[in-house]
């Protein structure tokens, strides 16, 4: 297992390095100079040169890359052109909001997927199964921003039950800790449901398929022959094995949820990495764009690593391969 872990760590590191290199050069090869976009066209040549020197843009691209890589090795992602603050600080400020949203969305996604997936598997080819299949297709075919807009329309505008934006109400700072937590929960519901529902469709199909496959196995027939109740057969014997691959799916889907929350965060004014990345793109903030993208890539690589390790832990054939 240690050898497997080492191999996977090395390959993950190399993958990250490759991703970092590609991101760096792609962003810098795009036309336009950030000093033009950020500072307007009427700054003098001397001012522009000063800014280019300050930002390190006057150095050859190769040298910029080596310097950037060296700083990266020290955990320094550089300074944001637009905000002129350390990028690690900016990401650290925005990440908790995205993490919270992604976690809540995962709960929604897996809650819906498990409930409906199990129901569909138990009533295979029945009316409920067909109905759930339609629901699954509907959820998968609606972009998250569309679901978000519909939720806002229904639950914040037509029936103003829930807040449509931000993490907290105005004056939340004056609330008690419990009141503040409840206020946060109310604000979290709509974006988490929008993001979670969008991802629930495929997960639901996965749960259904996996459970149907497991329920056809010999050991399930044995369990039934022993006279166990159907409920016990499904929930204890069937589901435990059916959900093992789901653990891997979870490890893979969590980082992609973090990365995929961009539109949801914009629609719901959620102060996370998604909104930050849009602002970075619009302001042509090279270092921040690179930093956020690299951070997202890191999460995906880590997610893959965790998924592989889980699979290796659960299946000895993988780690011995």
């Amino acid at each position: 297992m240690a050898g497997y872990l080492l191999r996977r760590l090395i390959s993950s590191f190399l993958l990250l390095l490759l991703v970092a290199t590609i991101i760096f050069f792609l962003v810098h090869l795009a036309p336009g100079d950030p000093t033009t976009v950020l500072e307007g066209r009427r700054i003098t040549p001397e001012q522009r040169e000063h800014l280019r020197h300050l930002y390190g843009l006057d150095r050859p691209l190769g040298e910029q890359y080596v310097r950037w890589l060296g700083a990266l090795a020290r955990g320094d992602l550089g300074i944001s052109f637009a905000q002129q603050r350390p990028i690690t600080t900016i990401i650290a400020e925005a990440f908790p909001a995205t993490f919270l949203l992604a976690t809540a969305a995962i709960l929604v996604e897996y809650g819906v997927a498990l409930l409906l997936g199990i129901a569909a598997a138990r009533r295979r080819d029945g009316t409920a199964d067909h109905l759930i299949r339609v629901v699954s297709l509907l959820l998968s075919s609606q972009p998250s921003f569309w679901i978000g807009l519909m939720l806002i329309l229904l639950f914040a505008h037509v029936w103003p039950l829930l807040p449509a934006s931000h993490m907290h109400s105005i004056d939340a700072d004056l609330m008690s800790p419990l009141g503040r937590a409840l206020d946060l929960a109310r604000h979290l519901i709509l974006p988490a449901v929008a993001l979670g529902l969008y991802n629930a469709g495929p997960t639901l199909r996965f749960v259904r398929g996996s459970l149907i496959e497991v329920m056809g196995m010999d050991y399930i027939r044995t369990a039934r022959a022993k006279g166990l109740s159907e409920r016990r057969v499904v929930w204890v014997h069937g589901l435990r094995n059916a959900l093992t691959p789901l653990v891997q799916l979870f490890a893979l889907s969590f980082p992609s949820l973090l990365n995929g929350a961009v539109l949801t965060e914009i629609i719901f004014s959620w102060p996370g990495l998604g909104r930050l990345s849009l602002a970075a793109i619009l302001s042509r903030d090279y270092p921040l764009m690179v930093g956020i993208t690299l951070f997202g890539a890191l999460l995906v690589v880590l997610g893959n690593l965790v998924a592989d390790l889980l699979q290796a832990a659960l299946d000895p054939r993988v780690r011995d391969a």
Binding site: A30, P31, G32, D33, T36, V37, L38, E39, G40, R41, R42, I43, T44, E46, Q47, R48, H50, L51, L54, I79, S80, A82, Q83, Q84, R85, E93, A94, L149, I152, L153, A156, H157, P160, A164, S165, H166, M167, H168, I170, I266, I267, F268, S269, P271, G272, R275, L276, L278, A279, L282, S283, R284
Partner: protein, 552 residues
């Protein structure tokens, strides 16, 4: 003191601005409507206004070197200029009202301008605001390390002299029309606090400024949660003793325009500075809400690359203008009177516009005749004009994310096709479009420009601005160059009127660009807010005068 948006040079606009430019409803006045609320209403002190914005300041640095409109909105309420430029430029050049300076006078040769500051000025930390602050601010503005983007406006200021704590004198190299604007550009900064940090360190020290924020304006920043909201509170040490009326102003940052509007309609927001014309009817239908519209200083044009044939020929450019049905474009994209066909860069809402000048009509037959006289004929019967084996064909770029401009490009493609011209619309990422235009790598581009109250056309139309890419049209006309220079030399802007009219007529004749449309902006208020006067200068223009009735 104009909002920086007004006083900034002509520039290509951010696409997000364009979406907000298009307004479509009534009670329009050329220079903006009067403040809402009946004159007999007695202002009520206290209360909170909640406002919604699709963008937010980039960071604390945007409050020191503002690059966004919303950054200016905050900055102009927390810091102040010497005088305040008024949005009254319809009938005459914009006038100035006292702000930190209560009066000012010119020397006989018009090369010295003396400001007399108010005697009771203090920063929000209690330190006095004096002429020393004014001089030191000028030093900061011109320091290359600070790299302030309006430093070019200080080029003709030789020195700023402190006469006494309440008197400061600006010495100019020569007399010219923009002297007051140049002297007044830039907010006065706190020397007693910020001089602790060398200018060389300013660009690297946003957190330092965060810890050393003071205000001289009616409000100060109480809190700022990035991507969430900013809270402004009353500056108790503001010089105008009975202002502001409001206790707090909350700026909520909501990037999705649909969500922003929804919250406004629900009553969660009291003010939104930008509304799409398509949403005007929904707001108008609600009796508790109010719309305010005013003509923008932005105009949309087809920029021809004047250095490339066939656009280097003014007659061909005029033929192209005649072949474009601009009224149809305006009627389609800006319905309900939200726009009008453009005439020249001196916009129709501006005092210096020559009202005798009319837009070129839609006349495809005349366009065909001009082009034929220039040798452009369809020799091979493919429906496209050609000359010497070369088709009259070009790319027409516009920027992604700006639907109106993209739609306009498609309509122009269809209209030009009627006279045998092949225009191919290409949608580019905004920064790519800007880079292409500035470097001259384009044929034609549907883009936007703005004009400031100084009516300084040197940026876009003077040939000396070609190398920098500022004159991205690459338009060169010695007579226009001369007239721009002569008009800039007038000490009073009124005296420049004959020259401005001549420039306008030449540009109308030469058509370095086809002026597509001028448009309105639309802001929306809840009627519980009184005496608000959003206008071209700023959404928060007179925020200190706003007052609110209690929430129901």
């Amino acid at each position: 003191m104009a909002g920086a948006r007004m006083k900034r040079p002509i520039r290509i606009l951010l696409p997000i601005l364009l979406a907000a430019v298009l307004a479509a409803c009534g009670n329009t006045e050329e220079n903006g409507p009067k403040p809402n609320g009946a004159a007999s209403d007695k202002p009520r002190r206290g209360g909170t206004v909640v406002t919604g914005w699709t963008t937010e300041p980039l960071g604390l640095v945007d409050l020191i070197f503002p690059t966004t409109a919303v950054g200016n909105e905050v900055l102009f309420r927390t810091f102040q200029h010497l005088v305040e430029e008024q949005p009254d430029f319809t009938e005459h050049p914009a006038t100035f009202a006292p702000q930190l300076a209560e009066s000012w006078e010119w020397s006989d040769d018009h090369k010295t301008l003396t400001f007399h500051l108010r005697k009771n000025l203090v920063w929000s930390d209690g330190a006095p605001l004096t002429a020393e602050d004014v001089r030191w601010t000028w030093q900061a503005h011109i320091d290359p390390a600070v790299a302030w983007d309006s430093a070019y406006m200080k080029e003709n200021i030789r020195d700023v002299e402190v006469v006494d704590p309440q008197t400061v004198r600006f010495h100019f190299t020569h007399a010219y029309s923009k002297q007051m604007l140049d002297a007044n550009e830039g907010l006065i900064l706190p020397k007693h606090l910020w001089s602790q940090l060398p200018f060389e360190k300013w660009r690297e020290s946003p957190d330092w400024f965060r810890q050393h924020l003071v205000a001289a304006g009616p409000f100060k920043i109480e809190s700022w949660k990035p991507q969430q909201e900013m809270v402004l509170v009353r500056n108790e040490r503001y010089w105008e003793k009975d202002r502001p009326y409001l206790d707090r102003v909350i700026m909520r940052f909501i990037p999705d325009a649909g969500n922003l509007l929804s919250q406004f309609l629900n009553g969660d927001l009291d003010f939104i500075p930008q509304v799409a014309p398509s949403e005007a009817a929904r707001i108008r239908a609600n009796p508790s809400l109010e719309l305010v519209s005013y003509w923008s200083n932005l105009y949309v044009l087809v920029a021809w690359n004047n250095s490339r044939p066939p656009f280097s020929d003014p007659e061909v450019r005029r033929a192209l203008t005649l072949a474009i049905d601009r009224q149809a474009i305006v009627d389609t994209l800006l319905p309900g009177g939200a726009g009008r066909v453009g005439v020249s860069p001196i916009l129709q809402a501006v005092w210096a516009h020559d009202k005798k000048l009319q837009p070129w009509p839609y006349d495809p037959n005349e366009a065909r005749r001009i082009l034929a006289a220039k040798g452009w004929k369809d020799t091979n019967g493919d429906g496209i004009l050609d000359r010497a084996g070369k088709k009259l064909s070009f790319d027409l770029t516009s920027n992604a994310g700006n639907q109106n401009r993209n739609d306009a490009a498609v309509m122009i493609q269809q209209q030009l096709r009627v006279v045998g011209i092949e225009a191919t619309p290409r949608i580019l990422e905004f920064n790519t479009l800007v880079t292409d235009n500035q470097s001259g790598h384009f044929d034609a581009s549907v883009t936007g420009l703005s004009i400031d109250t100084s009516l300084d056309l040197s940026g876009t139309y003077h040939s000396r601005a070609i190398p920098s890419g500022e004159n991205f049209l690459r338009y060169s006309n010695p007579e226009v160059d001369r007239l721009i220079d002569v008009s800039a030399q007038q000490t009073e802007l009124e005296d420049a009127l004959p020259y401005l009219h001549q420039i306008e007529h030449i540009l109308h004749r030469d058509q370095p660009a086809t002026y597509l449309w001028e448009s309105q902006r639309l802001a929306a208020l809840n009627k519980r807010v009184h005496d608000a006067w959003p206008n071209l200068q700023a959404g928060f223009f007179n925020l200190k005068d706003w007052w609110v009735e209690p929430r129901q």
